[in-house]
Symmetry: C2
Subunit: 465 residues, 2 copies
Amino acid sequence: MKQLKRTKISEALRLTNFGEEVNVKGWVRTRRGNKNVGFVALNDGSTINNIQIVIDIANFGEELLRPVTTGACISVNGELVESQGKGQSVEIRATEIEVYGSADPATYPLQKKGHSLEFLREIAHLRPRTNTFGAIFRMRHHMSYAIHKYFNDRGFYYFHTPIITASDAEGAGSMFEVSTLDIENPPRNKEGKVDFSQDFFGRQTNLTVSGQLEGELGAMALGAIYTFGPTFRAENSNTPRHLAEFWMIEPEMAFYDIHDNMDLAEDFLKYLIRYALEHCREDIEFLAKMYDEELTDRLNFVVENDFVRLTYTEGVKILEESGQKFEFPVHWGTDLQSEHERYLVEKHFKRPVILTDYPREIKSFYMKQNDDGKTVRAMDVLFPKIGEIIGGSEREADYDKLMNRVEETGMHTEPIWWYLETRKFGTAPHSGFGLGFERLMLFITGMANIRDVIPFPRTPNNADF
Amino acid sequence: MKQLKRTKISEALRLTNFGEEVNVKGWVRTRRGNKNVGFVALNDGSTINNIQIVIDIANFGEELLRPVTTGACISVNGELVESQGKGQSVEIRATEIEVYGSADPATYPLQKKGHSLEFLREIAHLRPRTNTFGAIFRMRHHMSYAIHKYFNDRGFYYFHTPIITASDAEGAGSMFEVSTLDIENPPRNKEGKVDFSQDFFGRQTNLTVSGQLEGELGAMALGAIYTFGPTFRAENSNTPRHLAEFWMIEPEMAFYDIHDNMDLAEDFLKYLIRYALEHCREDIEFLAKMYDEELTDRLNFVVENDFVRLTYTEGVKILEESGQKFEFPVHWGTDLQSEHERYLVEKHFKRPVILTDYPREIKSFYMKQNDDGKTVRAMDVLFPKIGEIIGGSEREADYDKLMNRVEETGMHTEPIWWYLETRKFGTAPHSGFGLGFERLMLFITGMANIRDVIPFPRTPNNADF
C-alpha cells in the first residue's frame, strides 16, 4: 500500500482540495451498500463525525472486504471527493484498503444497534468507541484543559498534594487503608495488635479524601495554588451520584476573603461552561439530542445569569415559607438536601445560587468563624439539576479560634501539627473551594449517572479494568 | 487601613507609574535597617524576587513594627518609587502596614540563614516559602501546564486511568494493597483465608503502577490519549532516585509505529525544556547558581541537538569496546545500568540517545516482537545526568503473539481480559511511552534528590504531611 501521511478525520472533513489523495485510518462504525458499491462510516475518535468511505467493490473483491465490518480497524487511501449525500460535504473514494484488525460480528459486542448505558458499563474497555462515550471523554479532556488554562492564565500554581496520607482532611469520612503488610498474617506487637510500625510507612496510612489541608500550605507560600487529582471515599453508596474514586479541583488562595472566593468560583464555572460551549459544540449537540434536550439551554442559563448570593439563614427562611412539601423537613441547623438546593435554584430564584454563612455545627473545623458565634464563612454553589457543585469557605486564620474548634470537635492534633503551624507562622486571611470534577462533567454532558462520565468507575464491588 | 486592590509582587516589580499608591501583601523574607529606617524584603510566591519595602520608623513606631520579622505576613500600602539600590528598579515607601500574622523568631524554623535540604524535608509544610522550593514548585507548575498544552495543541485527549486497580500493568512490581477490611480481624472464609469477597470492591485491589494498559483502551477509541496521574511502587528503596508515590505521563497513540513514537518523545522533551527556558528563566538561574552551575548549558544542549538513535545491540557493542571500567559488567542480554546509559550519552555521543530493540527477556510482555525472535520494539530515551528519562515501545498488536508472551511469562490472563480483547476487536498498530514527572523535574531543576522536586515525598517510613 502506498505510504501517505495520515490525516485525522476531524481534519479530513474540513478539507476542500477535492481530487487529491489522502490517507485516513480508523474504526468501522457501519458498513452498508449493495453488490457494486460499499459505504463505510469510519471514525478515529478525533471527532464525533464519521467520514464516508465509498468502495467500488469490483476494484477490491469480496475477499478483501469481508473483514470490513463494524468494529474493524482499517487504513484507507483514496481520493477526496465532494459528498453527494446530505449532512456531510466530504467523502473518500477508496483506492487502497489495508485491514489492521477485524472484529468478528459473532462476538464483537458493539454492533450498530443501540446499547443501554448499563450494558456499556460492563464493557468499559470498549465503550469509548461509541458516539456517546467518545463525546463524553473528549469533553472530559477539554474541561480538564480549561481548568489548567484558567488557573495558569491567572498565576495560580498547580500543586501536587499527596495521595497516600496519614491524616484525614475532614476529620471523618470512610477511608481506604493502604498497606504492604500481609493481611493474612500481619506482624503483631506485644499487645497482640497489628504492628503498623512494620508497615511501609511505619504507620497506618490511607488514601486522601481531599488535598485541601496540604493545598493551604502551598497557598501560604506560593500565594495561589490549585490541586487537580484523585480523591477517595470508601462509602458503601450504590447511587448514581457516588464514586469511590473521583477527581477534585481545589484552589486555595492567600489574601482572598469569602467575597473574593465567591467571585472566583462564579467566574471559574462560567469560564468552564463557556469553554465547553465553544470547544465541544458538536459533542454537546449529540448528547443533548440523545439524553437531555434542555442541556444547551441549561448551560447558557448559567453563563448568562449572575449567581444569587444569600445566607443559609435567608435560604432556610425561603424554604420554610415556600409551602413546598419536602421529603426531608428543613429548619435552621439542618444540612440542606438536594431537593432544597434545587428548589432554591430551579423554582425560587431560577438562577444559580451561592449560599453562605452556614451553621458551624454542620461544617468543617477549618472554616472561619463568624462573630455571631453560630455560623461560619462557608459557601456552597448550587446549580440546576445537580444541586451543590462547589463547596468552600474562607479558612480560619486565627490559631486560637482554630484550636477551639479542633478541641470542640474532638479531633486529634498530632496528625495535623503541620497544618496548625501555618496559623502560628505568618498566618493570613485565605480561602478556597472544592469542585468535584465528575459533578461538573454531569452538568456539562447532561448525563444522569456519574459512572458514565469517568472512564473506569470505582464503586462497591466494582474495580474492573 | 485604606482599601487598595492588591498587586502581586511579580507585577509590582514591573510597574513604572512611580508616585502612585499600591498595595502588596506577602511574607517577610528579611528585615534590616537602623533606628530611623527599616528595609523589608517581601515575597508573595508570585516570583523568586522580593520587593523592598522602605519603612520610615518614625511614622509607625517600634510597637507596630516589632512583629515584622522573618516569616511574618503583612499587608503594605505605599508609594511606588524608583529604587536607589542596585539589582532592582522598584521599591515601596510604606504609608500603612497591617500585620496579618507574626512568626516568633524563637520558634519559626526558617530564619534567614541557609538550611540544609535534609532539614527542609523535615519541614515540608514550610519549605515552599524558601527561594529554592518556591522556584522548584513554580517550575513544577509550568512543566505540568506545558505537558497539557503540548498534548492539547496536538489533538491528544487527557484520559483518566484508574488509581485503584485489580490488575498489575507490569506483571510484577511491589504494590500497595487497598482495603476497607479490618486488618486486626478480617473476615475469613471456610479455608481460613481472608475473605476478600467482603472487601469494598469484592476482591483484592492495589494502587496502580502504571496507567498504560487502560491508556491503550483510550487510544484504540479516541486515537491519541495521554495520562498524567499518580502511580505507586512499594519498593523498599531509600535512594535519591526512588519515590513510593510519583506522577507519570503516559501517551498512547493508535497508528504510531516505533519511529513515530521516537519522533514524538524527542519533540515532546525538547518542547518541555524550551518551555522551561522561556517561562522559568529566573528560577532556573537561581537554581543553577545555588546547586548546579551547568544546568542552563545542559538544558540548551538537549534542545539544540538531535537525539542519536541506535539499537541496544549497537549500544552494547560500543560499551563493550569502550575499554571503560563499569561497576556492572555489560554484555548482550543484560539490562543497562545508569552508568552505561550515561557513558553513551555523556562520553561517547555527547548527545541524548534513544536506544531501541532491546532483548525481549528484559522487557514487558506487551512490547511488539521483532522478526528476529530475540528483540522487541522498545525504546529508552537516555539523558545526561539522569540516564533513562522515557521508556516506551510499539505495542504488540497481534493477538496470538501477545498471548504467546503472556503464557511464556506466566501471567494470569483473567485480570487483563479486557486488555487482551483490544487485539481481538479492531486491533491496530500503536505505540506509547512513559515519562516519570519527577525524573523530568530533576533534569529541569538540576536538583540531585527526587524528594526535593515533589511537595510531599512518600518514601519508606515517611508519610508525613
